[in-house]
Amino acid sequence: MRKKKIIVLDADGVRRTVTRIAYEILEKNKGIDNLAIVGIRARGAPLAERIVDIIEGIEKKRPLIGILDITLYRDDLSAIGEKPVVHSTEIPFNVDDKTVVLIDDVLYTGRTIRSALDAIVDFGRPKSIQLAVLVDRGHRELPIRPDYVGKEVSTKGNEVVVVRIKEVDGIDEVTIEEKTS
């Protein structure tokens, strides 16, 4: 059960933020040569799709796109009885010498990104790996920092950041909600 909802970004806010991140990725990497946008399942995947669409609109060329499922790389797998459902990973290009930009919805402890880094290097040796997140909510447990941040949100222990993405949840919004249990 969750109660008390503060809206951090509404649908327009999500759209503007994703657009800005797409521009920043282009600016920092000076175009799309050797650029690969890789979304982390579940909600990073549609975000990556949107960023690629925006970049294509600007550059008239589509960067490489991939999807990463990090389930098999989680560090808490053996501690749980029920197994997270494994979904497919789709990296339809050689990652060697590419600049890979990982896309995720929320950056929190950093453990998901740690898993994603392991997963990506299992496909080869990228030139560099960057990280873009829609929301950074702090409370890192690992030395990981994002290169592109949509919104920084400071949260207390009893609060959760909930990102809803149209393709997965039917609506675009970012909210802070209080945990009651």
Binding site: L72, S78, E82, K83, V85, T89, D118, A119, F123, G124
Partner: protein, 308 residues
């Protein structure tokens, strides 16, 4: 989303639910991609130990289980009958208990006696996976056959599967029948009467004795190996007669649908139950079965082995 198999062991498809089969097949689809990577390995089962206890000859199944474990980063030991203390008279239970004393997480068991895997599963804390027990079940073969059919035909429901050959001695046939019926497929069998077990009608399959009558309905033909090592010669008059009546040949295949799938669990007796030009022809998905077998075994190991 989290899901699990409601069991410690995989012993057969007779007592497993359609929902669990669905979970295994879907997990296998996701894991298949790992074997296509330049580095064919993920760290998921790092630090887990799996013993492959193969007390009956096997190439495909034993290497498939071994590779499945290794692609998930588990450590494996393979014990085969010819090199084990079973030859010195050690009982199966003693062998397994000794292996468990080495803190294994799972045992994959192939044995010539029906029930061998059940026997061990009741006595070991480790997960037990049945890799074939006598004429009883071979669940991972049933699963990989279903995955192959689903991959090619996009569904299992209402698909007509014809199994040809020695049904009575075939654990592959039994696991296929149990699994396919649960997933809503229609199963027919075709064999000489001596190859058809007395209980078969209870399983809800249609029986044909004449191959030419059976072929036109099939979407899939699963051709079983004539197991010359498993039965006495008295079950059919001669191999020559069996070949004349039941061998799948290019000519006979004219009676079947043009897009029928030909499957075989291997090893093939070329020219006995299946002609080489059919085994290697465009309808054959026999090598895809092998590729899918690895993915199914990876899925089973992922879903069964947990923190203990």
């Amino acid at each position: 989303m989290r899901k699990k198999l409601h069991r410690k062991d995989l012993l057969g498809l007779e007592d497993i639910s359609a929902e669990e089969i669905e979970l295994i097949l879907n997990t296998a689809v996701s894991l298949k991609e790992i074997s296509e990577r330049p580095i064919k390995k993920v760290p998921t089962l790092r630090g887990k130990t799996i013993v492959n206890l193969f007390l009956e000859p096997s190439t495909r199944t034993s290497s498939s289980f071994d590779l499945a474990a290794k692609r998930l980063s588990a450590d494996t030991v393979t014990v085969s009958s010819s090199s084990s203390s079973i030859l010195k008279g050690e009982t199966l239970l003693d062998t397994a208990r000794n292996l468990e004393a080495m803190r294994i997480d799972a045992a994959v068991v192939r044995h010539s006696s029906a029930g061998a895997a059940h026997f061990l599963a009741q006595r070991l804390k480790a997960s037990v996976i049945n890799a074939g027990d006598g004429s009883h079940e071979h669940p991972t073969q049933g699963l990989l056959d279903m995955l192959t059919i689903r991959e090619k035909l996009k569904r299992l429901e209402n698909i007509n599967v014809l199994i040809v050959g020695d049904i009575a001695h075939s654990r592959v046939a039994r696991s296929n029948i149990f699994g396919l019926k649960k997933m809503g497929a229609n199963v027919s069998i075709c064999a000489p009467p001596t190859f058809i077990p007395y209980y078969i009608e209870r399983l809800g399959v249609k029986i044909f004795y004449n191959l030419n009558e059976a072929l036109p309905h099939a979407d899939v033909i699963n051709v079983l190996r004539i197991q010359l090592e498993r039965q006495g010669k008295e079950l059919f008059p001669s191999i020559r007669e069996y070949k004349e009546l039941y061998r799948i040949t290019k000519d006979r295949l004219q009676l079947a649908k043009s897009d029928v799938l030909i499957m075989h669990p291997g090893p093939i007796n070329r020219g006995v139950e299946l002609d080489p030009d059919v085994a290697d022809g465009i309808s054959s998905v026999i090598l895809e079965q092998v590729t899918n077998g690895l993915a199914i075994r990876m899925a089973i190991l992922y879903l069964l082995i947990t923190h203990k």
